[in-house]
């Protein structure tokens, strides 16, 4: 099974440059790992002001469990994507992204 590796940091650079671009096949493979996480504890955004502000949260994992707000707020979806990508990169590779 494919594992995300810090040696592939160029893929993180590609994502950071344009979180909503068309990812290369290699980057898409990283994103499949990151975005395919189980529901419990999965990062989501909560729309706090439509088209203006989003709050970071995680899912409870079962229907009926409220989302848990984590404190961070973003005024752009790109910034939110970058933030979560950094968190996940650390989780899967053990390395911080500069």
């Amino acid at each position: 099974m494919y594992r995300v590796n810090h040696n592939e940091k160029h893929l993180a650079d590609e994502f950071m440059a344009n979180p909503f671009g068309r990812p290369s096949p290699e980057l898409q493979r990283v994103l499949i790992v990151f975005r395919g996480e189980p529901v419990a504890g999965k990062y989501v955004l909560v729309c706090t002001k439509p088209f203006k502000e989003w709050a970071l949260a995680e899912l409870g994992g079962k229907r009926g469990e409220p989302v848990k707000l984590l404190g961070e707020r973003f005024t752009s979806l790109e910034e939110a994507e970058r933030y979560v990508f950094r968190k996940r990169w650390k989780k899967y590779t053990g390395h911080d992204l500069a």
């Binding site: 979180p19 909503f20 068309r22 990812p23 096949p25 898409q28 994103l31 499949i32 975005r35 395919g36 996480e37 189980p38 529901v39 999965k42 990062y43 989501v44 955004l45 909560v46 729309c47 439509p50 088209f51 989003w54 949260a57 899912l59 409870g60 079962k62 229907r63 009926g64 469990e65 409220p66 989302v67 979806l77 939110a80 994507e81 979560v84």
Partner: protein, 701 residues
């Protein structure tokens, strides 16, 4: 969201009355105003949100009240004969889907207030148990203490001999070759006898009381199938219990049998039939699933109407809902001269608001425009209260970006009683095959966004369609509106007065009369503009009698959120085979030239013209557009005109030979994957950049 509501109708015309039901979580005074919905998109990069307030006698201030929504499906039986039962035997075949964790009632003749009666349950541990109450506060529970197997048929029964004061419990698993047995026969002496209760008998729930307006309040709902429940007025032997599972009550048991329900009778109806001769027929509440395979299904027949005797099961769910049944707060009689269009009642209570949308149509045969727009209300109902973002890990993969939870989704998550969409699973993991509009539908509203719709405005269904009608209005095209329900009910008659008929952005769910109407219209020379993707895909059935209910059976092909079980592909509402229209030899390509090929929910792209676009037949469509001009490389949904769910022509599937493919989309991203029905043998070329068939075609014929 302190204020929500719904209406009894979705389509009305002059002189007809539509009622609005409103509930406020905390009682407050609220304001209601009639509005015309122009554009529901709040995106500042778009044309701008716009609604137009309309003078109406309903506009004003109202006192809100809390109106509960009582979910969970069950059957209820009333009859004086029930109160005459002393010694007894209750029995059924059951197929439990969630047997542990909470007590679930199989059959209950119980008064909670008096602690009187009897009920056969699956207890917290998952074992079959019998509860007796003597009406003076003493209650006994006898359990087999052996957890029942999930999703396996089991004979369950309990007999009470009032003279001997003995109870016998039966739990007989119906699968052979079991290593670890889950069958048991328990015999116990009891200190008390069940008192009679004058109340009704319930199947799959317990009566917990009545609401002030007389509705049943129920609890301890059962999840799973029940087949052939019987009630006898004597403690039957094990052999007699087995004999009593025959469809016809054996002659020698007739004097003892109080009720024998045959769920294979009147399958489309919301009634259960007692074949004992005692007339203890019952009523079904909240649309439990019918036409389900029974304990004796042999798999030799797939169509329930050809083997009724093997389709005696009903699948009950603790989260099923049909009609919220709220009291009406106000009603609008549509005045003469109110233009056909998209309307809503705007409810406001402090910072909370809701919209109750509906459509005004014109008189059949008296069109006010050349163009008719069909509001795809069946598709809105299919996606009604879509709940999978909280439960499906695939949601972020589908969107290919972070899920943005919307306020309506949070409210829905906190209120499961609002019911589910045809894309969700019930709490027991079985697919939701019915949807109703007689409940608040929180995503059939202006202003709402949907995470798994394209990046940008993130619109789907009802709100996405406001882009279309807003554009028509802004461009000066007059149009009348009908809904899918009107098309289903009236067919070609409703279309034939128009030169052109236009669909919404996603006319995915079609009944046979709806499809027949469009086919007849095009064959008579009518102009049909198919403005969406993944259209004319699922066959649905409207209930023949119950208003506002549709059914889908996700059979053996297509992009499916769940999978119907073997033998359960035929609609209970109509007896028709469910599934894709394509699998029933009516592919969308035959009607509109194109059909579903791929989906992806992040980025869109644009189109470029083909040589066929130079054909004089389509000159009218390309007036003012250069031959090499890119088309639709901009927009609010993924940044392009081709995206989300895309269709191509396919002569093998019926695209007419004179079709002109006037434009192809550019290459779609790798998030766009080839649909299942196009993959017979799996090959790796299923992504946008590697498969030339993954594109969108613009077709004219």
């Amino acid at each position: 969201m302190n204020i929500i509501g719904y209406s009894d109708r979705i389509s009305v015309r002059a002189g007809e009355t539509i009622r609005f039901m409103v509930s406020c979580e905390r009682p407050v005074s609220y304001r209601a105003d009639l509005v015309r919905v122009v554009c529901g998109d709040l995106n500042p990069a778009g044309p701008g949100y716009r609604e137009v307030e309309i003078d109406s006698p309903i506009n004003g201030q109202y006192e809100g009240r809390r109106q509960p929504l009582l979910c969970g499906s069950y059957a209820i039986v009333e009859g004086a004969r029930l109160a005459e039962v002393r010694s007894l035997c209750v029995q059924a075949m059951v197929w439990p889907t969630r047997p542990r964790g909470k007590e679930q009632v199989l059959l209950s003749h119980w008064s909670g207030e008096q602690a009187a009666g009897y009920e056969l349950v699956i207890d917290v541990s998952g074992a079959v148990a019998l509860r007796l109450g003597d009406g003076s506060g003493r209650v006994e529970l006898v359990s087999t203490e052996l957890p029942i197997r999930e999703r396996e048929w089991c004979l369950v029964g309990a007999s009470v001999d009032t003279e001997a004061k003995r109870v016998v419990l039966h739990q007989q698993q119906q699968i052979a070759c079991e290593r670890s047995t889950t069958s048991a026969v328990i015999e116990r002496s009891v200190a008390i006898l069940p008192a009679t209760t004058g109340g009704p008998l319930l199947i799959a729930a317990r009566l917990a009381g009545r609401s002030p307006d007389g509705r049943c309040l129920t609890e301890a709902h059962y999840n799973g199938k029940i087949d052939s429940p019987r009630l006898s007025g004597r403690a039957l032997t094990a052999a007699e219990m087995i004999q009593l599972f025959q469809r016809r009550v054996p002659q020698h048991l007739r004097p003892d049998v109080v009720a024998a329900w045959d769920f294979s009778l009147e399958i489309p109806a919301q009634r259960i039939i007692d074949v004992s001769g005692n007339g203890l027929h019952g009523t079904l509440v909240n649309l439990p699933a019918r036409a389900m395979t029974g304990y004796n299904w042999s798999a030799s027949e797939m169509r329930w109407s050809s083997a009724l005797q093997e389709y005696g099961a009903i699948h009950f769910h603790d989260d099923g809902v049909y009609d919220a049944g709220w009291q009406s707060d106000f009603a609008l009689t549509v005045p003469q001269g109110m233009p056909s269009g998209s309307y809503a009642v705007h409810l406001r209570a402090g910072d909370d608001e809701d919209y109750l949308p509906f459509f005004v149509r014109c008189e059949t045969g008296k069109p006010s425009a050349k163009l008719l727009y069909i509001a795809q209300t069946a598709t809105y109902m299919a996606y009604a209260n879509l709940s999978f973002t909280f439960t499906a890990s695939a949601a972020e993969l589908l969107a290919n970006r972070l899920i943005v939870v919307q306020p309506w989704e949070e409210h829905l998550n906190a209120h499961p009683e609002l019911g589910l969409s045809l894309y969700d699973d019930h709490s027991d993991g079985s697919g939701v095959c019915y949807s109703s509009r007689l409940r608040p539908i929180l995503n059939m509203r202006p202003k709402v966004q949907t995470s798994t719709a394209g990046l940008g405005s993130m619109l789907w269904g009802y709100n996405a369609d406001t882009h279309l009608t807003d554009w028509l209005e802004a461009s000066g095209y007059a149009f009348d509106v009908i809904t899918d329900e009107d098309l289903h009910a009236e067919g070609i008659e409703i279309l034939r007065h128009y030169r052109t008929v236009m669909t919404g952005t996603h006319p995915e769910y079609y009944s046979e009369p709806m499809l027949d109407a469009l086919k007849a219209y095009t064959e008579r020379g009518g102009r049909l503009m198919y403005m969406g993707g993944n259209g004319f895909y699922w066959r649905i059935a409207y209930h023949p009698v119950l208003p506002g209910a549709i059914e889908v059976r996700r059979a053996e092909d297509g992009t499916r959120a769940w999978l119907a079980r073997p033998g359960e592909y035929y609609h209970s509402f109509s007896g028709e085979l469910g599934g894709l229209w394509r699998r029933q030899d009516r592919p969308p390509q035959r009607l509109v030239g194109t059909g579903f090929i791929a989906q992806g929910f992040d980025l869109s792209t644009g189109y470029h013209r083909t040589p066929a676009s130079e054909n004089p037949r389509v000159a009218f469509a390309f007036e003012g557009i250069d031959r090499d001009e890119p088309i639709g490389y901009f927009g609010l949904i993924g940044g392009g005109a081709a995206g989300l769910e895309v269709d191509i022509v396919d002569p093998r599937l019926g695209t007419p030979p004179h079709t002109l493919v006037v434009a192809h989309s550019d290459e779609l991203p790798d998030s766009f994957l080839l649909v299942n029905e196009e993959q017979l043998i799996n090959t790796p070329d299923v992504m946008g950049s590697t498969n030339p068939r993954i594109r969108s075609d613009l077709a004219f014929f």
